[in-house]
């Protein structure tokens, strides 16, 4: 079942109180593939009681209802909804022990992305998505500050590739399928004559 941390519960209650909203619950659903933990995309929204689907699972979270999409429920087993706030960022965060990928090697690669790589590249406004694992090759896509970044290849070859191969030795190749030309906010950008890159 999905659980909610005290910080997340307090934040939801604060929002409900500020908006003077009653009979409202927090609904959690998986929307499909995405860049969230486990390789899923998530939807987290406050809904009126009347808006929930008949087969949604409902749990009393203490002051409001936690509503879990029935289809998503198996893939949310053991997930935790948290709320984090620091000097640079704040928001709800989901930790999910499940993986979009059934195949063990792919699930292991996804775990490396979730636990090691994405928290680190998030400092540069970036993220890495696992597209697929076929045989000994992992196909990934870089986004945010990593898409189009002048140092994306360094991140890939000197970081992502090494970390994935260290944790999942059966992966021999990591292929970057990113359309870097479409990056709109790369973290490092090239310039004539070198020097420090203008930060995005």
């Amino acid at each position: 079942m999905v659980t909610i941390t005290e910080a997340a519960r307090d934040k939801v209650l604060e929002i409900l109180k500020d908006g003077d909203r009653k009979g409202v619950g927090l609904r959690v659903a998986i929307t499909g593939r995405g860049r969230g933990p486990g390789g899923f995309g998530y939807e987290l929204e406050l809904i009126e009681e009347a808006e929930r689907a008949p087969d949604d699972l409902v749990v009393d979270a203490g002051g409001f209802k936690l509503i879990v999409d029935a289809v998503s429920a198996p893939k949310l087993e053991g997930a935790v909804v948290d709320y984090v706030e620091d000097s640079t960022d704040s928001g709800f965060k989901i930790e999910n022990p499940n993986s979009f990928f059934e195949e063990p090697a792919a699930a292991a690669v996804q775990k490396v992305l979730d636990e090691q790589i994405n928290p680190a590249v998030a400092d540069h406004g970036g993220f890495v998505v696992l597209l697929d694992v076929k045989d000994d090759t992992a196909y990934i896509q870089l986004g945010g500050g990593c898409q189009g970044c002048g140092m994306a290849n360094v991140t890939l070859k000197q970081g992502v590739e090494v970390m994935i191969q260290r944790a999942v030795p059966e992966i021999k190749h990591v292929i970057d399928s990113t359309d870097h030309a479409s990056g709109t906010n790369p973290f490092y950008q090239p310039a004539k004559g070198g020097g420090a890159s203008p930060l995005a």
């Binding site: 090691q116 790589i117 680190a120 590249v121 400092d123 540069h124 970036g126 990593c146 189009g148 002048g150 140092m151 994306a152 290849n153 360094v154 991140t155 070859k157 000197q158 970081g159 992502v160 090494v162 970390m163 030309a181 990056g183 709109t184 906010n185 790369p186 973290f187 490092y188 950008q189 090239p190 310039a191 004539k192 004559g193 070198g194 020097g195 420090a196 890159s197 203008p198």
Partner: protein, 423 residues
């Protein structure tokens, strides 16, 4: 497996090319950069954060790193890493241009002094301080001349002056640019000087080479068919092989070889810019690194090898003397920035790619970002690459592709959007 330290700043255009080359050559790469890489802590043996502005101290850090993980070569991908590469290689006893030769090549003033001392053809020159009175300086200058800020590279801030009035205007414009850069970095500019050089008429060419034990091996001679007459000197088209007569190309190679001897540059990649006129061949600049930007993609060698592969193999001591450039003609166009503003879009890329000979069109500034032309600007809008049977076809393809490209640049002050044709 041999291990090589690749020095590249976070503004490098070359990270991908060098890392892919390392993989193909089969050497382990360590990336040294001035800012910590996103995943550096997870792979300390593959990443080093170094202060490029303090090459001596950073060379000691490299030596400490190499004590645990021995290095077979140190190489700079770009201009900024060259001094540190020289100091680090010297500290480790590895083959690399000496720190003195690197200083001579990178300083416009020292380079001119060394060439003059060696009796090599050189334009008249004069170094002046930014704190001097431009009106007084304008009386002392010779015309036409070119003003070059000593602290900038890649034609940035370089302006031609034909008389005292344009000298003063150029001086003030460079002064404002350097003041802006100093403000932005928060660090005083240590080389607030301008080199005033006699303007040399004529055609410009570029030479790409590899130096071994003091001997130059020319990899390519590029024609630069767009006239570079000022007032700004924006590099655009490079096409190889050169269409200049063989004896002129030989003279160019001789000049570069002589200039290398004059500055003591005895090994590694070199990129030379030269001017050719009825008085002879003049070495304007010799950089102890390979061609900049993404331009190296215009070069391909035996076995589909890249220039970076050749350089890496040379750096680790492989014999690359027999590797030749492909027979086809090739070229690159550095897309000029037509005006200042915010880049809102680029149109015509598909049409440009359909032109015979065009291999790729790369726009390297993201839509939504500020663009600024020379002499103040420091970025290329992008690159177009072509390959064909003859240099004429390559040049024609590059010009046709440029003509298809439309850049939507919104002037920031006026708030109006205008489509600017590439041609």
């Amino acid at each position: 497996m041999k291990r090589i330290l690749l020095l590249m700043t976070t503004s490098s255009y070359r990270a991908q090319a060098f890392l892919e080359a390392a993989e193909r050559v089969g050497v382990a790469a360590v990336v040294g950069s001035e800012r910590e890489q996103a995943l550096a802590s997870a792979n300390p043996g593959g990443n080093l954060t170094l202060d490029f502005a303090d090459p001596e101290a950073s060379a000691r850090r490299v030596a400490a790193f190499a004590a645990d993980r021995p290095l077979d070569a140190v190489l700079a991908a770009d201009d900024d890493g060259v001094p540190l590469a020289a100091w680090a290689a010297a500290a480790l006893g590895l083959r690399h241009p000496s720190p003195d030769s690197v200083r001579a090549a990178r300083s416009k003033r020292v380079f001119r002094d060394r060439l003059a001392t060696a009796g090599l053809p050189s334009p008249r020159y004069l170094e002046v301080g930014l704190d001097e009175d431009p009106v007084v300086l304008a009386h002392r200058a010779f015309y036409p001349c070119v003003l070059k800020p000593l602290s900038l590279s890649a034609s940035r801030g370089v302006i031609r002056a034909d008389d005292e009035r344009s000298f003063v205007a150029a001086f003030r414009r460079i002064h404002a640019l350097l003041a802006r850069l100093t403000d932005a970095s928060g660090v005083p500019d240590s080389s607030r000087s301008i080199l005033v050089e006699e303007y040399l008429p004529g055609r410009e060419i570029a030479l790409e080479g590899l130096v071994t034990d003091g001997c130059l091996r020319t990899l390519a001679v590029f024609d630069k068919p767009d006239p570079l007459e000022g007032p700004y000197f924006e590099e655009t088209i490079y096409v190889t092989p050169s269409r200049l007569p063989g004896n002129v190309q030989e003279a160019a190679q001789e000049q570069v070889q002589a200039a290398l001897a004059a500055i003591g540059l005895a090994t590694g990649p070199v990129h030379a810019e030269l001017r050719v006129n009825e008085r002879g061949v003049f070495a304007l600049e010799i950089a102890p690194r390979s061609i900049g930007g993404l331009c190296s993609r215009a070069l391909r060698f035996d076995g589909d090898a890249s220039l970076e592969e050749l350089i890496l193999r040379h750096a680790v001591g492989d014999d690359v003397r027999r590797i030749e450039r492909e027979r086809a003609a090739s070229g690159v166009m550095m897309l000029p920035i037509p005006g200042a503003g915010v880049l809102r879009g680029v149109r015509g890329r598909d049409e440009a790619l359909r032109i015979a000979g065009i291999e790729d069109v790369r726009v390297t500034i993201p839509v939504g970002q500020h663009v600024e032309p020379l002499p103040e600007g420091s970025r290329y809008l992008g690159f177009v690459f072509a390959r064909a049977q003859t240099p004429e076809l390559v040049e024609g393809a590059l010009r046709a592709a440029h003509g298809r490209l439309l850049f939507d640049i919104e002037p920031e002050a006026a708030g109006l959007s205008a489509a600017t044709a590439g041609a």
